[in-house]
Amino acid sequence: MAKDRFQVEVLTPEGEVFNDEVEMVSTRTTVGSIGILAHHQPLLGMLEPTELRLYRSDSDVVRYAQGEGYVQVSPDGVLVLVEEAQDPGELDRGDLQDKQRKAEEALSSCDEGTEEHRRAARDKRRWETFLRIAGDGGA
């Protein structure tokens, strides 16, 4: 049986990357992984870096490497606001490894409990996640 479809818009500061009807959205909030189907309860969630999957159907899935952001579910549809949404095929492993290394250096050079430390931890987690996504796509 075909599932109900709903409108999903993915917005980044650099513009809209996706706006279409889907059957399911799969992403991750700070609380945990979440799958959103049609008629989901209204929600405001904070997103963590992960692979964002938009299921047009079981076989037709659009994927993005998603940075930090927010998701808002309302009766009109789902709005995904993320700082980055990149095509996994366009991720540059070398570049990501550089960034990850830099974040690790920053992490070890500053004291725990400072904002600088929290920020480096955030960077490290983001680039690690992106690297994992890039690895899956390339293999």
Binding site: P13, L44, M46, E115
Partner: protein, 303 residues
């Protein structure tokens, strides 16, 4: 052809070449300006949506916002960070120099009142001018001013926010060329940190559609995690968005300024070519007259 005629002719040739280059640069700048304008437009829906979400989360959280460190002023302002946004390249009229000048003037004001100043600069021009003047910027961000990405803005914003929250700096001011039209840019000086609550909650020009629809059902909304936690991350986003917008406006302004500078350079080259052509014709005419006089004089001496 005499020596002076040949000289003028070579000069015309080189001025024509320069004119070709300035024309090409003008056209490149015009194309990039259009793209930069589109990127400013592309930010609007995102910024508007962040603003609506913040309002929704703030309503749900009650008035917990004041507790955030980036919203609270420091007790004493001893160190001021100045962020100067310039371009990576020159040949854009006063675009870069007016930012550096405004920054140095503000620095002098702060220093006169006993505060110390820490510089940060985006764009090679700003970094190198400040370094040359012995005021090497602590944060140097270069290589992207043609096409700044959100990640560039995030890096700058997070450096400044971290320094502010960790008490290394007490205030952040940003200087950039605000984009008004391709022909008009203005130097803007804004306070980035501490963030003003008013700027967050006021309805900005980013609100393309009203927030009424969202608030109608907010009592039923589920939050993951609590609205307080969401707010803690939404609010620093304003700093990132402000820096990103400043970078985008600066880029548009840079292309606008370069377009204008190159257009007037092309016009000046055109005038120069006219003057030189006139000079060359005059020299040629003088030579012809001279030759005719000589022929006439020779003919007269025979009769």
């Amino acid at each position: 052809m005499s020596a002076s005629q040949r000289d003028v002719k070579t000069r015309i040739g080189s001025v024509k070449n320069i004119q070709k280059i300035t024309r090409a640069m003008e056209m490149v700048a015009a194309a990039r300006l259009r793209r930069a304008e589109q990127r400013i437009e592309a930010l609007r829906p995102y910024a508007g949506a962040i603003r609506r979400m913040t309002r929704q989360a703030a309503e749900a959280a009650g008035s917990e916002m004041a507790a955030l460190p980036i919203l609270s002023e420091h007790d004493s302002e001893d160190t001021i960070a100045l962020l100067l946004i310039t371009g990576d390249r020159g040949l854009a009229g006063a675009f870069n120099s007016q930012i550096v000048r405004a920054g140095l003037r503000a620095a002098a004001e702060h220093e006169a009142e006993g505060r110390s100043v820490a510089y940060s600069a985006a764009g090679r021009r700003g970094v190198s001018t400040l370094t040359f003047r012995g005021k090497e910027p602590q944060g140097q961000y270069v290589g992207f001013t043609d096409r700044p990405s959100y990640a560039d803005a995030r890096e700058i914003a997070e450096d400044l926010v971290a320094a502010y929250v960790d008490d290394k700096i007490d205030r952040v001011e940003i200087f950039y060329n605000g984009y008004i039209s391709p022909l008009t840019q203005e130097v803007r000086r804004e306070t980035l940190l501490p963030l003003q609550q008013a700027t967050i909650l006021e309805a900005g020009d980013d609100d393309d559609d009203g927030g009424e629809a969202d608030s109608a059902h907010h009592s039923l909304v589920e939050y993951e995690p609590d609205p307080e936690e969401i707010l803690k991350r939404l609010i620093p986003d304003y700093v990132e968005i402000s820096v990103y917008r400043a970078l985008l406006e600066s880029t548009a302004s840079e292309h606008g300024a370069r377009m204008t500078a190159m257009r007037s350079a092309s016009e000046n080259a055109g005038e120069l070519i006219e003057d030189l052509t006139l000079e060359m014709n005059r020299a040629r005419q003088a030579e012809i007259t001279q030759e005719i006089m000589e022929v006439v004089a020779g003919a007269e001496s025979l009769t």
